[in-house]
């Protein structure tokens, strides 16, 4: 393990030295720089608990969103990302989108899950409040995402909206390519039942979100 890191490091340095000497060479292309960055990262991390090195292997969505980060995302690429992510959404077989908002609220509050410092035996949360305002009772909320207060009340308690809320929580990339919102169902952060409970938080008329 340590040895392989050292070897990778050494080859990284060798590559760096080559680039260094070749100061008359043309600038490396964007794709070459990306490939080199990945190689450097693979030599610079070690697995820790549940966070293994395979987390550095990007899927197509992650790779495309990294490639276009800070630039304008071409419409054709956005459509491709949304289409492929839409196809992954698993809607509930029994058509039951709405679970228990009380459990959903707990999931929306809980930040644990996925970090190497977290106990993988404990259930993961979604920490929706890290990025969204959801209810007026919780004033400790972040602003990376829009306010979701009155989400169901404003959008209507329709089957169509329940289905949209489910899909958005399952795979956010299906509706807005390169969003900053995680793909909770698709990436296995939440279970199907947890998604159902979070959808209840958004869509149950009795939920604090809709008061």
């Amino acid at each position: 393990m340590n040895k392989s890191i050292r070897i990778a490091l050494a080859s990284g340095l060798a590559a760096a030295a080559v680039v260094g000497c070749a100061s008359m060479e043309p600038k490396p292309s964007d794709a070459e720089t990306s490939a080199k960055a990945l190689q450097v990262m693979k030599a610079s991390f070690k697995e820790h608990g549940q966070a293994k090195l395979d987390r550095l292997n990007q899927d197509e969505t992650q790779a495309l969103c990294s490639q276009y980060a800070g630039k304008e995302l071409p419409r054709s690429v956005a459509e491709k990302i949304e289409k492929s992510n839409l196809a992954t959404i698993k809607y509930p077989a029994d058509g039951k989108y709405v679970g228990d908002w009380k459990s959903g609220e707990k999931i929306a509050q809980l930040g644990q899950g996925g970090q190497y410092s977290d106990d993988p035996k404990k259930p993961s949360g979604a920490n929706c409040y890290a990025c969204h305002e959801l209810s007026k009772a919780e004033i400790s909320y972040g602003t990376i995402g829009p306010s979701l207060w009155h989400f169901g009340k404003l959008r209507g308690y329709t089957d169509e909206m329940r289905r949209y809320a489910w899909g958005k929580v399952w795979n956010s990339e299906a509706f807005n390519a390169c969003t900053n919102m995680p793909r909770f169902g698709h990436n296995g952060i939440l279970t199907e039942q947890q998604v159902r409970d979070v959808v209840a938080l958004l869509m149950d008329p009795a939920s604090p979100v809709n008061q």
Binding site: L13, S34, R55, G114, I144, N180, N187
Partner: protein
């Protein structure tokens, strides 16, 4: 004067922390510790003093001090050195940030093994870290000096380009990149303000105020610690201390902070 600047920084930090206390009862205790720390001045002083002692005291198999360590401005020049790091070091044949260069000097001057010099980079109350103390001392000698990192050779240009790629690299179960949390102005997670590290003002503030004494941890934390802990929140594996990715990312962020008067060791919640 120096004292007054510090007090101002600390008070600004305190003002930000107040709403936290309202929202999270457990934070009240932290605020109390903060108040205490303000009364006593910045405890980072203790790390600076210990670091200066380590710098000047013979140690390691070679029983040598670090006083001849070349931080880029010539052997023994500490004043202003941090404001120009990372930089390319011809003797090592690569770009190094301060923490990597300290490892280098402890190996070459004091005769430590690389593994020993890299041991315990982030300390705890019962296991003091020499790295944290040395970083506190060296950085304190750049206080007030504008950041001036130069991309004047191919190696630095490459480190910057790689650091930029790493900053925007999305991965892991949450699809996070540094840019997810630090790519826009005026955002926050829960109540913690997130500096926009892609804009000049945010990059300058975010970089020039590290290392910092963290009241909540009772420790002085270095810039590599900051990167390490953000990668943890990003759900990535563990960033290795003094690794090439760490150096590249630091080069990207330090260069973006150019022009800002360096203002650390600071004190943070």
């Amino acid at each position: 004067m120096r004292q007054r600047i510090r007090a101002a920084v600390a008070v600004a930090g305190f003002a930000c922390a107040v709403p936290l206390a309202l929202a999270q009862g457990s934070a009240t205790e932290e605020i109390e510790k903060y108040r205490q720390a303000l009364q006593d001045g910045n405890p980072a002083d203790l790390w600076e003093m210990r670091g200066e002692g380590l710098w000047r005291t013979p140690a390691g198999p070679k029983k040598a001090t670090l006083e001849q360590c070349d931080l880029g401005k010539g052997p023994g020049v500490v004043k202003g050195a941090y404001a120009e790091l990372p930089r390319y070091f011809a003797d090592a044949g690569r770009v190094m940030d301060l923490e990597t260069r300290l490892v280098w000097c402890r190996v070459t001057l004091q005769g430590l093994s690389e593994a020993d010099a890299k041991k315990n980079p982030y300390g705890s109350s019962n296991r003091k870290s020499d790295n944290e103390a040395l970083v506190a001392y060296v950085t304190s000698q750049s206080r007030g000096i504008p950041m001036n990192v130069r991309l004047d050779n191919p190696q630095m240009k490459e480190a910057f380009a790689l650091g930029e790629k790493i900053f925007y690299f999305r991965g892991g179960p949450h699809d996070f990149a540094c840019a997810t949390c630090h790519g826009e102005d005026g955002k926050r997670i829960r109540l913690q303000d997130l500096p926009n590290l892609t804009a000049k003002a945010g990059a300058q503030k975010g970089y020039s105020t590290w290392p910092a004494y963290r009241v909540s941890q009772g420790e002085l934390r270095t810039f590599q610690w900051r990167l390490n802990d953000c990668f943890r929140q990003q759900r990535f594996p563990e960033l290795e201390f003094a690794s090439p990715a760490s150096i590249a990312l630091t080069t990207f962020l330090a260069y973006n902070a150019n022009g800002a008067p360096f203002d650390a060791p600071a004190i943070k919640r």
